[in-house]
């Protein structure tokens, strides 16, 4: 880039008395005028007021300024305003520099006006030094293919695809099984509807199937992914051969599966010890033997027993099944007597005894908790056990025995259930590991996909362009998977709707000539924005294959960590270059600038 002679204009703000009351602003302005490259300096009562902004615009024209500095408050609130003003006057907004002499100076040194004035002078001088080295930047726009790929045809994937399709985006929906529906296909009924599981989601399946914007690829899997946000080329392998598609965004909705608790509570050893999902299957297929007494054991393999986490959904699901087994109607509240006297409202006696061994029932929120209350009223028994002292399952003759330590009563007890149902956690599917590598998105310690930020970016990956929903993220109920799916669709639709992605021009840039292809930058980049590509280089008439790194500006977030890692100064960060930063350091040290422009 051609380096023009810097012509810097500096606007020092009084901010009423906020700066002016403690910093000698006229003195500062006189000083600033003596700084190299400064061709104009003025003071304003309020630079952010209309007249202050007009003064900037006028000065740019009048003095042919090619750099502007405002010394006032924090860039946090006012930088966008001043940048806009520069642009209005035809100046590239990256040629603007902000110096904070209010929060960082006048307000914290109110008792020492002379020192505050000296500090303000130096802070501005440092800013001037940096500004002299600023370069105009263009924010690169990378075009986006307005199509999406959704991985997984369960409720989450279907919902995400449907929402994208309804927003007008062509969407590929990839499902490894030959039918849509995912995990729900294994279930008997859903607690939310009280109805048959498959029947409950049939309207969704029908909508997806009928939608013209959705390309349904069942019995298919993702084979390969190339590219980055806006520009992925994906290869999907299916029965009918391979499909190659260009998509702008990818949603991971690959779901989860149930943990098989081999070796726990006689699972795999005794016949009538099953998992919750197996039990659902038995119910669905009407294959349930006649049972008089049933025991559920919660947290089988979870919360530290094998896996670390709580699987969120098992308590409600066990309760749902228990209520069905007990088979009485839910009791209704009844008030008798003319005063406030309330009679108890427990249901009448029932045939099947159900006991749920638990470590504290986790029915959060409204619906689940109300179900738990109803279940107790129906006579479902809840017995707490301590994690260090779980129930033991054995056999006496052909009878199953549960020996347990009642946690509240501190007593050893036994019961003889006909059936034992183990509530085991959801776990990641085995294909996830490979998928995570293919998409360059991480898995967490719990093996579930790991989002960009636990609190504020739950559906994004750190890698732009890839999004997440449903049980691929962590165990959730179907309704939760559905709102997450809508959310992931929303996140994915942003680049698709804009048709481009544009990043603030503070991204890292690789000087290919200097790059030695060591790959440290790519290793350290938290966003996978750096790629190492093999390039052919002609060296003394020999063609060499050398690795060179390149930063994808659509993915880079401008943290600058790679710049520091590079051992050969091959990477710079736009707007935060080493010469710019060291110029400021030099001014601080009292060296007049510019000394050197490397």
């Amino acid at each position: 880039m051609e380096q023009t002679e810097p012509r810097i204009g500096v606007f020092v703000c009084h901010c009423g008395v906020n700066i002016g009351g403690f910093v000698d602003v006229p003195d500062v302005v006189e000083y600033v005028k003596t700084l190299p490259n400064v061709v104009h300096a003025e003071r304003n009562l309020y630079t952010c007021a209309d007249d202050g902004l007009a003064a900037i615009r006028d000065a740019i024209k009048e003095h042919d300024l090619n750099r502007v500095i405002v010394a006032s408050c924090t860039p946090r609130t006012h930088a966008p305003l001043f940048k806009r003003t520069c642009e209005e006057a035809g100046l590239n907004k990256y040629l603007f520099e902000f110096v904070n002499i209010r929060e960082h100076c006048s307000w914290v040194h109110m008792k020492e006006p002379e020192k505050a004035t000296a500090k303000a002078k130096q802070l501005i001088a440092m800013g001037v030094a940096k500004a002299a080295l600023l370069e105009p930047q263009e924010e690169e726009r990378v075009p986006v293919e307005p199509k999406a790929l959704v991985l997984g045809g369960g409720v989450a994937g279907m919902t995400a695809a449907l929402s994208l399709a309804n927003q007008g985006f062509e969407t590929y929906l990839v499902e490894k099984e030959d039918e849509l529906g995912g995990f729900v296909r294994n279930l008997d009924t859903l607690y939310q509807t009280g109805k048959d599981a498959l029947e409950s989601i049939t309207p969704l399946i029908e909508k997806v199937t009928a939608n013209k914007n959705i390309h349904m690829l069942t019995s298919s899997t993702l084979k390969d992914v190339e590219g980055y946000i806006g520009n992925y080329e994906v290869t999907i392998a299916g029965d009918g051969g391979e499909t190659v598609a260009k998509v702008g965004a990818i949603i991971v909705a690959t779901g989860a599966e149930e943990y098989k608790p081999a070796g726990l509570y006689g699972y795999g050893e005794y016949e009538n010890v099953v998992t919750l999902k197996e039990f659902e299957r038995m119910e669905k297929e009407k294959a349930l033997p006649e049972v008089k007494s049933v025991a559920f054991i919660q947290c089988a393999g979870a919360r530290g027993q094998v896996l670390e986490y709580c699987s969120r959904i098992c308590c409600t699901n066990a309760i749902k099944s228990a209520m069905k087994l007990v088979g009485t109607d839910a009791p209704e509240a009844e008030v008798t007597g003319r005063r406030r006297r309330r009679r108890a409202v427990a249901a009448p006696p029932h045939e099947t005894e159900v006991t749920i061994f638990n470590r504290g029932i986790t029915t959060y929120g409204v619906e689940h908790e109300l179900m738990y209350n109803t279940a107790r009223g129906m006579g479902v028994k809840f017995v707490k056990y301590a994690p260090e002292n779980p129930p033991e399952v054995s056999k006496e003759g052909d009878k199953l025995v549960v020996s347990y330590h009642h946690e509240t009563l501190k007593m050893e007890q036994t019961m003889y259930p006909d059936l034992i149902i183990l509530s085991t956690p959801l776990v990641q599917i085995p294909e996830a590991e490979e998928l995570s590598k293919m998409l360059k998105v991480p898995l967490g310690r719990d093996k579930f996909f790991f989002e960009a930020h636990v609190k504020l970016r739950p559906l994004d990956f750190a890698t732009d362009g890839v999004y997440l929903c449903g049980t691929a993220h962590a165990p959730v109920f179907i309704d939760e998977a559905i709102y997450q799916a809508y959310g992931a669709a929303s996140r994915a639709s942003i680049p698709l709707a804009n048709g481009y992605v544009q990043a603030e021009a503070i991204t890292a840039v690789v000087d290919e000539e200097r790059c030695i292809g060591c790959g440290r930058c790519a290793d350290i980049c938290p966003y996978h924005a750096i790629e190492l590509a093999e390039k052919e280089v002609l060296l003394e008439e020999i063609t060499l294959k050398i690795r060179k790194s390149s930063v994808n500006p659509a993915v880079c977030k401008g943290c600058g960590t790679c710049v520091v890692t590079c051992p050969v100064e091959a990477i710079t960060q736009r707007n935060f270059t080493t010469p710019q930063i060291t110029a400021a350091i030099k001014v601080f040290g009292g060296v007049s600038v510019p000394l050197e422009i490397s």
Partner: protein, 385 residues
């Protein structure tokens, strides 16, 4: 299906989530760490042994502090009451204070064909009738006043006399019957359901014959027994059941009664049966508030969180009960009030009992006159109104 299972259902103990809140608020548990209401329920739910045989079921005062605070509304006192009946049916004999005198007396009353002489307190100035709109249910006041004749500062007959005075002032001639028998409250709470029912039948027949549309009670226990226990067994009664405070509250609202002004500071003790069992908190306060110049100062433990007088159905009188009574009396003294008002004759008996010659503290720290609500009201009514 065992009797205990039925009880679990009737009391809603199924809803227990073992949170222990009952224990934390239980006055007994607070004094005796060995006692925990939570354990009794959880044991019953776990089906371990027969909880009806646990001695702890007799120590509970059935004050319902726990039920009041139970997040899931488990009717703890109902559960305990049932367990006691179950215990008695297995042959257990409860040990009651006063050498079982009260219960024996009640069982005798349940015997048909005995002609009582219970109206000796009706002085000539009091107008009563055999039939009428309003039935005044006296309860055991005549018998109790005999039994506790030597106890200082307890005026039980005065309660009955005051009640009739109030009726008469309002232009009402109440039915007061010599055939009335004990409501059976104490039998019901010590597991004698058989004799309890006998007493109930006698009373219900009697009231029916009187033609009353309203039955008014000066005893919180009697009202609770009619309102809840009788109606549970006999179904809804077709007359209104009112505590005297509610009755007077209405009279005041209608302007049928006005009060003389009196400069007095009082505090009010909510009896368990009237308060937590029946939810009557406002009526007595409204009436006291209507007496000009009378200042009601609340104790810290009031209304739903009122302290228990320590004894119920003559079962639970022991050193813990005495401590609770003293603490309550000290709390009353602490208000700076001139007297303590209550609306349960038994609260009065039990609380006064604690103020004996031998006390672990200086007498003045716990000594405050106790007056029954009904007497307070009768004494404050404007003459000739």
């Amino acid at each position: 299906m065992t009797a205990v299972d039925d009880l679990i259902r009737d009391a809603g103990a199924y809803y227990c989530i073992e949170c222990g809140k009952c224990t934390t608020v239980c006055p007994i548990a607070n004094a005796n760490p060995e006692f925990a209401p939570r354990l009794i329920v959880v044991k019953a739910m776990a089906g371990i042994a027969n909880v009806a045989l646990e001695p702890d079921i007799w120590r509970c005062m059935t004050c319902e502090t726990c039920s009041e605070m139970c997040p899931y509304n488990v009717l703890y006192s109902e559960f305990i009451r049932g367990l006691r009946a179950e215990a008695v049916s297995t042959g257990i004999v409860p040990v009651c204070s006063q050498h079982d005198l009260m219960q024996t007396m009640m069982r005798i009353m349940a015997t048909p064909g005995i002609e009582q002489n219970r109206l000796g307190w009706v002085t000539p100035d009091l107008k009563i009738a055999d039939k009428g709109e309003v039935f005044y249910f006296t309860g055991c006041l005549p018998q109790m006043s005999t039994i506790f004749r030597d106890q200082e500062d307890v005026n039980l007959l005065g309660i009955a006399q005051s009640a009739v005075k109030i009726f008469n002032r309002a232009g009402i001639t109440p039915v007061v019957s010599n055939q009335e028998v004990c409501c059976g409250h104490d039998l019901n709470w010590t597991g004698d359901e058989v004799n309890f029912e006998k007493l109930m039948r006698i009373n219900l027949d009697l009231i029916k014959k009187s033609g009353a549309a309203k039955v008014v009670f000066t005893c919180a226990e009697c009202l609770r027994t009619f309102e809840i226990d009788y109606q549970d067994i006999a179904g809804d009664l077709d007359y209104e059941l009112l505590h005297i405070s509610e009755f007077v509250d209405d009279l005041v609202a209608e302007g049928k009664i006005t009060f003389d002004g009196v400069e007095e500071k009082v505090t009010y003790h909510d009896p368990c049966r009237l308060g937590r069992h029946l939810g009557i908190y406002d009526a007595p306060r409204n009436v006291i508030g209507a007496i000009e110049g009378m200042d009601l100062i609340e104790m810290e433990r009031t209304r739903e969180k009122s302290a228990c007088c320590g004894v119920s159905a003559w079962l639970t009188c022991d050193s813990i009960a005495k401590e609770m009574q003293l603490a309550r009396m000290m709390e009353a003294v602490g208000t700076g009030g001139d007297k303590l008002i209550t609306s349960c004759p038994k609260c009065q008996i039990h609380l006064r009992c604690a103020i004996s010659e031998e006390m672990p503290i200086e007498r003045e720290k716990a000594d405050i006159p106790i007056e029954d609500f009904t007497i307070l009201v009768a004494n404050s009514i404007k003459a000739g109104a």
